[in-house]
Amino acid sequence: MSGHGGRQGLFPLTLLLFSVGGVHFGVATDQVLGTTGYKGPGQAQGEAPFWFHRAVEFPSDPAYIEPTAVLVKPKGQEACSVIIDAMQEIIEVGVDEIQPFPAVLEPFARRKGLWGVCPRFGRMFLLVDLERLAGAEQASLS
């Protein structure tokens, strides 16, 4: 991250790309404190882990190919692990490569921490704020 402070200073943004159930997502790498292969509840760091697909309301449980626990720390809350799948690569994107959700969808998407869209490689990467998602998930459990 640059220290310019202005809105443009937030870009370029470094994204960690992953997919769950064939749907592609991206998260800003500065939200990711660490990653580890997930083999069961005892392995994850921080608070009890939660599954990404449940937090964003997939209609059914997708098969995970390579589950990975991503450690995030929501503001003012304990660090916790979010279990994602199929980590792909890390890319850098400019401000002009990201679009907000269309107005019709945005209120629904924002409720689940989805804040933007990045079309890349013929796919549509949905950008997710894992800190917000994890924070909401922790708040709902407490």
């Binding site: 679009q99 959700f101 019709v104 969808l105 629904f108 998407a109 689940k112 989805l114 869209v117 079309p119």
Partner: protein, 172 residues
């Protein structure tokens, strides 16, 4: 040639032409016309005001987004711009065809902008406003709420849909 004060036949002809032209203008003003896009959704015939439809796109991949209601199947990429997609069959009923085979009408009205899944475009018509009748009383449920009127197309009819009402239906 010296100008003549006598009215010639050509003067009368020209008067007649101008009178006819004026009458035509009067008729055009009196009979306001509207463009209508007639389409099928779920096997049933409907229509939109042509002024509400920006373009009709061929079938394309719709990218699913979690947490959306059933009437919103996801996103499409239109020449690099991301657009939402509404499945109006959720409101209107009818046959459920594969969404990947549906055309997508891009509707724009005021601040509202979205793709709308349709089966096919039947016709684009220029109709007198008076040909739009009130919605059929037999229409029920959400279709009744979305109906702006009814259009006679020969022996058949099409329900004219109100984009504003559709927008209100899908707004959180």
């Amino acid at each position: 040639m010296e100008p003549s004060t006598e009215r010639l036949k050509s003067d009368e002809l020209l008067d007649e032409v101008k009178r006819a032209l004026h009458e035509k203008d009067v008729v055009d003003v009196e009979e306001e016309r509207v463009k209508i896009v007639v389409f099928r959704s779920g096997g049933i015939r409907y229509a939109f005001y042509g002024s509400d439809i920006r373009e009709i796109l061929p079938p394309r991949e719709i990218f699913w987004v979690p947490s959306l209601p059933a009437c919103l199947p996801g996103l499409i990429n239109v020449r690099g711009d991301i657009e939402s997609v509404i499945d109006i069959r959720h409101f209107l009923g009818g046959e459920q065809t594969d969404v990947t085979k549906c055309l997508i009408a891009i509707a724009v009205r005021g601040d509202f902008r979205s793709g709308i899944l349709i089966d096919s475009v039947e016709d684009v018509l220029d109709l007198p406003l008076s040909s739009i009748k009130p919605p059929l009383s037999s229409l029920g449920g959400v279709a009744r709420e979305l109906a702006a009127g009814e259009i006679e197309l020969g022996e058949q009819t099409a329900t004219l849909l109100n984009i504003d009402m559709l927008a209100a239906k899908v707004t959180l």
